[in-house]
Symmetry: C2
Subunit: 244 residues, 2 copies
């Protein structure tokens, strides 16, 4: 009997936005794996930190983060081998994933190496896109709206076309592309409908009109939401900020 | 001191896919409101049923479901008045929402009537779109993929344009539009990349290639995922179905 491989969506950052199911599996798993940068802490592990016990074995999957490129095959090959040994030994392995495992997550690289050999279950999580709309107190999509999720590294031409083809747009992976993307949104006349959201659901969450963001590069965990239907700053948002 | 209004995302259907935060607020709220059809049970209440106590007051927001039209203003006006009275009396009110409250949810109609007068918090939930990708064991979007969420009631021309403008597409609210949408997908040559998902995460969940779906109308809680990058039926999916 081999162990079972789990991909656990942990949500956008607030440890309370983990699902009951992910919490149950996380606290029971003998082995926990998670992506980690080569310097600094693992965000996925930080989300789960208060639920991890000293008896649980941890397998960080250390990925060089210097450049945005196709994730190194060798790192995932080696991690899959390590995880496979635990599964062979009959231990369940829970892979911690920020947000949702199959929504722009790195879990797919382990999944494609292991899922044909071991029983596998993916537990979906709250996406940072939905969490940003909740934090902004502005409905993301309604009725027959088309919502598009568009990665910021795409070029201006394709960004413009994708924005034109949707009613609401979430631009993710903004990071070092921030200045270019904001200039494009300004050129398209959409600044009044664009909101910036950073580290959503965490204590140091930042929400502001896109126009108010300082010009230096935005962090990787940031996104821009464009509500083409109207003003993003719903009066209720301001009222609640004051009254909350 | 008025009470606080909560919009609680309950996830796609499995009661274990509720977040710890929604669970905490749900079990503590003296008043619980939820959308309900005029006949049959409320899906949102069904998800939460095992967490609701006899001491909690329930406010069903009964909406005639016969036709897909703009939700009746009068129903929401009356519900907002009832909920407002509880908030005025100092009671917190938790509005239960399937999936995520601001992702095609009806919570926005209560939110826009109440959020300017009462402290309001929205708790994001797991979307059925992410849950469908997890159940299908097929990554929804990766790297620089554009993901579009497209409501099925839209006409063929706009559906075709939106499908063309994305790498992955989730067609939601399929319901009585199923036959027309499937014919369109066949015309576009995308049948091999299209999956049908129904009642995701529930015991009676259905997952199948779009081609295999019987021709009679699909239920409202169904969606079609199109993975333009390749075959939807990852070998791991079939293996895991057998081995799970």
């Amino acid at each position: 009997m081999t162990g079972k491989l789990y991909g656990l969506g942990l949500g956008p950052g607030d440890p309370e936005l983990i699902t009951l199911k992910a919490h149950r599996i996380l606290t029971a798993a003998p082995v926990i794996a998670y992506p980690a940068p080569d310097t600094g802490p693992s965000f996925a592990r930080q989300i789960a930190a208060s639920y991890i016990g000293a008896h649980q074995l941890e397998v960080p999957v250390v990925m060089p983060m210097r450049v945005e490129r196709f994730p190194a095959q060798e790192v995932y090959d080696a991690a899959a081998e390590t995880i496979g040994r635990h599964l062979d030994a009959g231990s369940d392995v829970a892979v911690l994933c920020e947000g949702d495992p199959f929504f722009y997550g790195s879990f797919m690289y382990l999944f494609e190496r292991l899922a044909d050999r071991y029983p596998t279950e993916i537990v979906p999580g709250v996406s940072s896109v939905m969490a940003a709309a909740s934090a902004l107190k502005r409905p993301l999509a309604a009725r027959n709206d088309v919502l598009s999720v568009v990665p910021g590294p795409l070029g201006d031409d394709i960004l413009e076309a994708r924005i034109a083809a949707a009613d609401a747009v979430a631009i993710i992976k903004v990071g070092r592309h921030f200045t270019r993307i904001r200039a494009l949104i300004e050129r398209l006349g959409l600044m009044g409908q664009a909101a910036y959201a950073e580290r959503v659901s965490l204590d140091n969450q930042q929400l502001m009109p896109l126009d108010d963001v300082p010009d230096d590069a935005a962090p990787y965990f940031s996104m821009i939401l464009i509500y083409k239907g109207g003003e993003v700053w719903h009066p209720a948002f301001r009222n609640n900020e004051a009254g909350a």
